[in-house]
Subunit: 297 residues, 2 copies
Amino acid sequence: MKTKLLRRDFFKKIFAGTLVFLIPTFVKKAIARQKDHAPLLSKSNNETLKTIHSLRTIHGNFKDQPISQGNLDTILQASIQAPSGSALQTYSIIVIKDREKMKRICGYQGAALLLYCVDYNRLIASAKSLGHSYNPDGMQIYITGTTNTILAVQTAVIAAKALGIDSLTTNGIHRGDMQRVWDEVELPEKHCFPLIALVLGYPTEEPKYHKGRLDGPGVFHNEKYHLPTKEELAEITRKYDDDELHIRLSDDWKADHDHYLDWLFTKRFSRFSKPISKETQAFKMLKRGRFVDMQNS
Amino acid sequence: MKTKLLRRDFFKKIFAGTLVFLIPTFVKKAIARQKDHAPLLSKSNNETLKTIHSLRTIHGNFKDQPISQGNLDTILQASIQAPSGSALQTYSIIVIKDREKMKRICGYQGAALLLYCVDYNRLIASAKSLGHSYNPDGMQIYITGTTNTILAVQTAVIAAKALGIDSLTTNGIHRGDMQRVWDEVELPEKHCFPLIALVLGYPTEEPKYHKGRLDGPGVFHNEKYHLPTKEELAEITRKYDDDELHIRLSDDWKADHDHYLDWLFTKRFSRFSKPISKETQAFKMLKRGRFVDMQNS
């Protein structure tokens, strides 16, 4: 049965290959032109939208199967195509294949880890090499730098998915003592901050369902900000409880809580029930990095 | 001549359409299967990678041509497919079609402006509606919130491009007095910060060339951080000067400077020649928003 299927697949591929070969070039070009210019309303006939709608997060259940260097290079080259303020590319991407190191850095393992850091040290070094002084200090620099960085991250996520490679974007690097991340990959103390870890790989098993998302009031706003009304908030609560929508993080609420959001705010995020009262390590690291608070910037 | 070209195009399309129609379903399926599973090394045969490599920033030269509501909805629905820490979707997307308002908010105009704000107010309101207290304060909250937000921004950028719609991601919202942005769209003062404006539209003219990007040392790092050597910095300087690579922001350096990077650091970014010495408005706004510095967080 399996052999028969394989043989049928083989002939289909041969036939498909031949047929594609037989389509004259000018016809291919005409098809391509149509693809480029026609407004495509539906996600169902647009490969890029299909890729985006197939995105999924794998929580560390990646096979011990490597990604080819070719695919990795394709992902990296795609990543830097993201828009970048003043064409500065204010980031460093550390490519890590050492699985033990991945675990120590972010708590997860995959075929590769791309550690995305907002980083101005290349630019500072360039300025210095030409005899100039460049001091990218302060919060505005941090905002622009991190924006450039995360635009590149998501471009890599989508490019990877286009190659059939799944991913996890995790701030596991900020859990525990963050200094380990600087130590593990020898990051500069100043003007550099590890922002997110992108773990890439192939999942050990297919997720049981595709995650949904909350849309509507509270997410999309029309012309001006609209805080959801009482009725809209009730609808949001209902949507998170809905077993079909899959927009929640977990089913752990079901045993002891009326609603998923009850569990979220009283259990999962119980630490936020009171305003915070001490300096976080993230803030300390950003202060050391000259991104915040020197001269109260 | 034009008529002849048009007629030729017409017949090509008819022919292409017929031919595609004639391909048997099982062959189409075989082609689709190949697309789904084969590792695709090259950007040339993968629609998603082609979309990513066709990304370009339009600096406000957008036609006065609207985007259909269908396309706008497709972009918004794609945007929220981005990964989101703890499935929280810590953002608000304000859709603005009023062209005068766009100009006032970010300095640019297009068919639509999507104002992406890191925003915890929906979550706070949900908590309150269920009788809970949720205080998303401090820098770690800001980092996670902004990361979720920019992941959604770039997903919108790529989805728009897949529909043939170009874009500009701009921090024009942070130029001048930022308070105007809060006023224009009635943003909450706390736990909300407008992060980036995404202007969408169709360009008035095709850009003359496709922008390149810096790759190699200083951008990609292998297993650990590597600050470019003297030779690598010289190569980076050379790449920015290269007329074929198009990785620089502008050609304004050519009149008075030896290198593009000389211009960048002494002219464009002359304000960074000395360390900053006063609090930026961005920092003030983030303090007001409880993202930084209350109890030195």
